[in-house]
């Protein structure tokens, strides 16, 4: 039997270099008269991608941001076409690149189910047949005829996911949609995914969540800079990926490229150091970690520094937000030092994402998700308990156990 999905030498080239991604007539006229101020720049998002997937296989796709994962899914779901190469899909395809595309607050839950289902490619009769099931899964029976603008964000999300989860297709293309919702709902949607995957459908699943990939996918594609670096059994690929992912980057600088950010705030550099200002990657559990953020404020706008701390499995552990009193009010260059207490993290690898956010109106000025990395080491022999191996979990604060009779 032929494979259900064949991808042959796919290449995708994007034009970059302009600030906005549309043109104005002025640019058009300039092109017409061949006046080029700067040469067009091209970037290869995908470069000679070839692979085959057999019916019923669940394949994960992993890789760093910008590796081409989303572009690959977009091509397979026909949202954009490749520049070269071709792909053959032998079966009905449903793609789920985002939960709740096209949801409208004025429409009721029922109306949104119909509309969302329809644009995802479901027939009217099919939606009608599955309506009860979708509603029950989302748990919105009572509010079915209420406009969704009155729903909580959790409810909206559940409803949107419920519609998507009931798509009938031979091939499902899924992009990181499980990374949403509260823990209970995530569990429920993982369960649904599991059920779907057992029903014999072919799944292509992009995620940053290594646990989810490991749970569903028998094999995994590792993309790097638009190329397939590895396509093998999942555990083998993940191991390889994680070992390379944690590059020991503890200093990141944009000094030579004019900073990173927008017209309000620009990052100059970010680094990690201990109390003695020693810049380094490895920290002992007993050491404090200082995050030093050096930036330029270009406008008199209140923008807050947020530090997102992730585990190496890409789980967000916490977000630290700068105190209001420490916001600079004048433009200029500033340095912020954030001190993470000692004895907080368990041993292991972590990384920090750096963002600046304006709150009224809400706007993310910049966000470097994978900015600086660190690793906590610990001398196990110093632990005063019989488990001389690493305990599970990410946090290990000093908790006082007191024996009370």
């Amino acid at each position: 039997m032929k494979p259900i999905l064949t991808v042959e030498h796919i290449e995708k080239i994007y034009r970059i270099g302009s600030l906005h991604n549309y043109y104005t007539l002025r640019d058009g006229l300039r092109n017409l008269f061949h006046i080029h101020k700067n040469k067009k720049e091209y970037v290869k998002a995908l470069d000679d991608i070839s692979f085959e997937i057999n019916a019923g296989e669940k394949v994960g796709i992993i890789g760093r941001n910008g590796a081409g994962k989303s572009t690959l899914l977009k091509i397979l779901s026909r949202i954009t076409l490749p520049t070269k190469g071709r792909a053959i899909l032998r079966g009905k395809v449903a793609s789920l690149l985002e939960v709740g595309t096209g949801f409208h607050g004025e429409l009721t839950g029922r109306e949104n189910i119909y509309f969302n289902g329809a644009i995802l490619g479901m027939k009217r009769t099919e939606i009608k047949r599955k309506l009860d099931e979708i509603v029950a899964f989302a748990g919105v029976e009572k509010f079915l005829d209420t406009p969704v603008k009155h729903y909580s964000s959790g409810m909206q999300l559940r409803l949107a996911f419920a519609v998507a989860a009931h798509l009938d297709a031979d091939i499902l293309l899924i992009d990181e949609v499980l990374a949403v919702g509260d823990a209970e709902f995530q569990k429920k949607s993982m369960g649904k995914m599991d059920e779907v995957s057992k029903s014999g459908r072919t799944i292509l699943f992009v995620s940053h969540n290594m646990n989810a990939i490991e749970q569903f996918c028998s094999s995994t594609i590792y993309l790097e800079k638009g190329k397939i670096k590895l396509f093998d059994k999942t555990h083998f690929v993940i191991e390889k990926y994680l070992s390379e992912f944690a590059q020991e980057v503890h200093v990141k600088s944009w000094e030579n490229v004019g900073g990173y950010g927008d017209d309000v705030v620009r990052l100059i550099n970010v680094s990690l150091c201990n109390e003695q200002n020693e810049k380094k990657y490895f920290y002992d559990r007993s050491e404090k970690i200082n995050i030093i953020v050096h930036f330029t404020l270009l406008k008199k706008i209140e923008t807050y520094l947020n530090l997102h701390v992730y585990s190496i499995n890409n789980e967000k552990l916490m977000v630290l937000v700068q105190d209001k009193n420490e916001i600079p009010t004048e433009t200029g260059q500033y340095t912020i030092k954030a001190e993470i207490p000692s004895h907080l993290f368990n041993s292991g690898k972590y990384y920090i994402g750096v963002a600046f956010t304006t709150y009224s109106p809400y706007k993310v000025n910049l966000f470097d998700e994978q900015c600086v990395f660190f690793e906590i080491t610990e001398d196990m022999s110093l632990r005063n308990h019989p488990f001389k191996t690493r305990l599970p979990g990410y946090f290990l604060p000093e908790v006082n156990f007191e024996l009370i009779k």
């Binding site: 549309y22 079966g91 985002e98 429409l107």
Partner: protein, 274 residues
Amino acid sequence: MTEIIIKPPSKFVFFDFKELSEFKDTLFFLAWKDIKIKYKQALLGFLWVILQPVLMTAVFVVFSIATNFTPIESNVPYILFVLSGMILWNLFSSAITQTTQSIVSNAHIIKKIYFPRIFFPLSSLLVSTFDFLISFIILIPFMIYFNVYPQWQVIFLLPMVYLLITMLILGIGSFFSALNVKYRDVKYIIPFMVQLMFFVSPVFYSNHYINIQWIKVAYYFNPITGIIELFRYALFNTTINVEGLLISSLICIIVFVLGLLYFRKVEYNFADIS
């Protein structure tokens, strides 16, 4: 088993009608959603659709009375003349405005979900058609009042009017909706173009009052002219300039084909640059 082959954009492929019919429910719900939202948000909902042409007609009628001048040579009362023109004109102008914006305003869907892209201008056309059908009702009491009745030919003449105006709208709309993705200047050009077409068309005056020859030529090369005349001919049995109708029809067909061809040629690019 369905087999989908994805490959780089080829020189030219015409519409895949099998695919279009497979996705027909999607088209229906696209239009359905816009209609729902529109009538939910406006307090007076349906009333606006009727009121708009009526109020505009009132303006022209009052102006005509005030100046003691009626710019038509026709056996039909001026109110009916303007109201019928205005109702059809509203279909045209609202559809052009909506279709032109249809790709840009749905960019978030285009970047995440695939279905035939032509559905965006097409569903805008359906929404405007829905409004047109409602506003059309208001003509009936006026016709009864003035004792003006259509002949039996209206049964096939009205569909012909709709066919022509649909081709014109889809041609212009799909062309500019696609162009709008690349050049946002389109947004500013369209209102001006629509306004210009309004004044060089028989919405509120008839051709007898044009003294300048080249404007008369422009008047008949404006494709909406023939369509409005045909509409009035169908409803009120007014005189019709057959040559004018032929010119309009020919232009409609040319615009329709060229507009869709251009749309088809560039639609693969929408997700990347919109």
